[in-house]
Amino acid sequence: MGRAVGIDLGTSTSCVACVIDGKPQAIPGPDEKPIQASVVSFLPDGGRVVGNEAKRMMIENAESTIYSAKRLIGRKFFSPEVKKAQAVCSYKIVEGSNQSVRIRIRERDYSVPEISAMVLMEMKKIAENYLGEEVDKAVITVPASFNDGQRQATKDAGTIAGLNVLRIINEPTASSLAYGYGKGLSQKIAVYDLGGGTFDISILEIGEDVFEVISTAGDSYLGGDDFDDRLIDYFAERFMRDFDIDIRTDRKALQKLKNAAEQAKIELSEKLETQISIPKIMETMEGAKDLDYTINRNYFGQMVMDLIQRTFKVCDEALQNAHLTIEDINALILVGGPTKSPIVQDAVKNYFFKDPQANIDPELVVAIGAAIQAASLTERRPGALLLDVTPLSLGIATAGGLMDVLIERNTPIPTESSRIFTTTHDNQTAVRIKIYQGESKFYEKNELLGEFRLAEIPPMPKGEPKIEVTFEIDANGIVNVTARDKDTGKAQSVQLTVSGGLSHEEIERFKKEHAGAGKEEVKAYKPKAELPDR
């Protein structure tokens, strides 16, 4: 039997952690760094590299280097987020079957869970090399605001990577575990989690070994990447004023600017002013031009203040749903790379009237919490019990356009709710029902999870069949639908089509395909680590 680890599968970076001799710790990769870029680069010779090494190939191998796959996972091809990614990403995004998203690399189409599986395989490999043992089980984290489709797709990625996914847990919940595990606390805490692509706030109550999520709220369209975008636009505009040419029209130049902007943002956490310089970034009528500007922290702060204010609106909502005020909060925990910025820290401190917990690394805390949960589940002596909630209301479409809510948001999970369905005309043998997640009272404004079909209903006069359908949200936050005949108690066939998702057959096929590739890579891995850093 292999070891169980915790994996923080992030938009821009990922991290793997394990409880070793009773102590949870983040595991360093081949470059000694525990934080690895969530980047996969496909090489012309058919091989691939993953992690920080792959990130360095983003310029030279732009079309075959995949980053920010998490922004696409579990989303439908026609969603606004996918449209946005299509416009800005250097790789090609195409439509697959069942409204799904595929990424085209060197004439081959990959599903998003496959790409995420490659990142997970790299994390698995890092842990195996460090522990000197097989790793076959994992707890994987997702943003609290992830819907059913996104959770299911993340779980599928784990399966494809050859991992038994013990549990999908929410990033803020994992963080609270890393903070409060084994301390016997009795506190109400706020976890402010600003990642690369998403923002989550969770309010929890810790009662010694019990971690109860009272409420959670988030914005899955807001993250540190948006801060980078502001910087990119700012420098591009300045460059345009000076040289009358737009960097954003040249993918290679834009990628260079992206890297430099990200670097500048990180430097502004340490310094009050920083310089950004890229020699010969663009060709103009008068020859190649250099980009060379300085920016100070204050100005950057003004540029992103509206984004930070947006997170506070979400915090207000979470506190209100928890029926608490800021004064009730005993401790504040910051999670995610962007919270390392003093601009964010000062604003959050002002909002909560409180200093964040020191001694917590915002970039490692999620993986560490996941590792604690993994150990807790496998070691037969659970030291912590998570009482989490569903972040979104679940409901079905009704006539008139309204959503009939079956399970409200912030309901503790696992949970279930049943409804009786019947037929509307004589001898009808099938009924279709659409399931949605979201807070709008109109179902069309919410996210369609899928459609299920009650089939093989015995022919009867209309209104006679009584089919009890049970909607379950399991501990992973994933929706399951079962049905039975209310009178006979017999199971009723349900065919569920999840929009944008993978079928069981696809998952199994990808798992086999990638398992082969993974093994070879493990063999080739050791010598590769000795290659000089380029």
């Binding site: 013990l166 109550e205 009662g207 070994d209 019990v210 109860e212 807790s376 589940l377 496998t378 037969r380 659970p382 019990l385 998570l386 009482l387 008139g400 356009g401 809510v405 079956l406 409200e408 309901t411 503790p412 999970i413 696992p414 949970t415 279930e416 709710s417 009272k441 109109f442 404004k445 501990a475």
Partner: protein
């Protein structure tokens, strides 16, 4: 391994849980304070949280999951004032068995019971016509009738709420 006594306890609870009300599931009194309900929720979680049984055989896992789901459901209903009041009233009434599990639709029904159909004959008539139009999805006609009803009884809360709902639907249709 679990001791036999606890296994028997799980089996018994699993079998009778459909007969229990939320207070019985959380083992609290109907007069309990909010804090007691939370304490009970934590205590029951310590006993039946499925994570504690992760390595146990599937039949035990299935039983504790059913129990724990009901514990969560009980807490969700009893930790909200409005739901708790309605639930308590229903389980102490003649149809106790029917209402052991809380259904969100009950809140809506309760709201509809509070419906104020108007006090003047003419407003009553307009409201009735608005409701018929609403059912027929003729939202424009519903809006006009509600506006007329409100001219006669400007302070009627039901009329106001219904008009807001109709306006929302119309605004959304425009947006599509």
């Amino acid at each position: 391994m679990l001791d036999e006594e606890f296994k028997r306890q799980i089996l018994t609870l699993y079998k009778i849980i459909d007969e229990l009300d939320y207070y019985q599931i959380l083992k609290v009194d109907q007069m309990a304070f909010d804090e007691d309900i939370k304490t009970a929720y934590f205590e029951e979680s310590r006993l039946y949280h499925p994570d504690k049984f992760y390595t146990e055989p599937p039949d035990i896992q299935e039983r504790v999951t059913k129990i724990f789901k009901r514990v969560c459901e009980a807490y969700k209903a009893l930790s909200n004032q409005e739901k708790r009041a309605l639930y308590t009233k229903l389980i102490n009434g003649p149809e106790r068995q029917k209402y052991l599990r809380f259904d969100l639709r009950l809140l809506k029904e309760e709201e509809e019971k509070k419906e104020d159909e108007g006090s003047t004959p003419l407003a009553k008539k307009y409201y009735k016509m608005a409701k018929t139009a609403f059912q027929n999805k003729d939202y424009k006609a519903a809006k006009v009738n509600l506006q007329l009803a409100l001219k006669l009884e400007p302070n009627n809360q039901t009329f106001q709420d219904k008009l807001k709902e109709v306006e929302d639907i119309l605004a959304r249709r425009k947006g599509l």
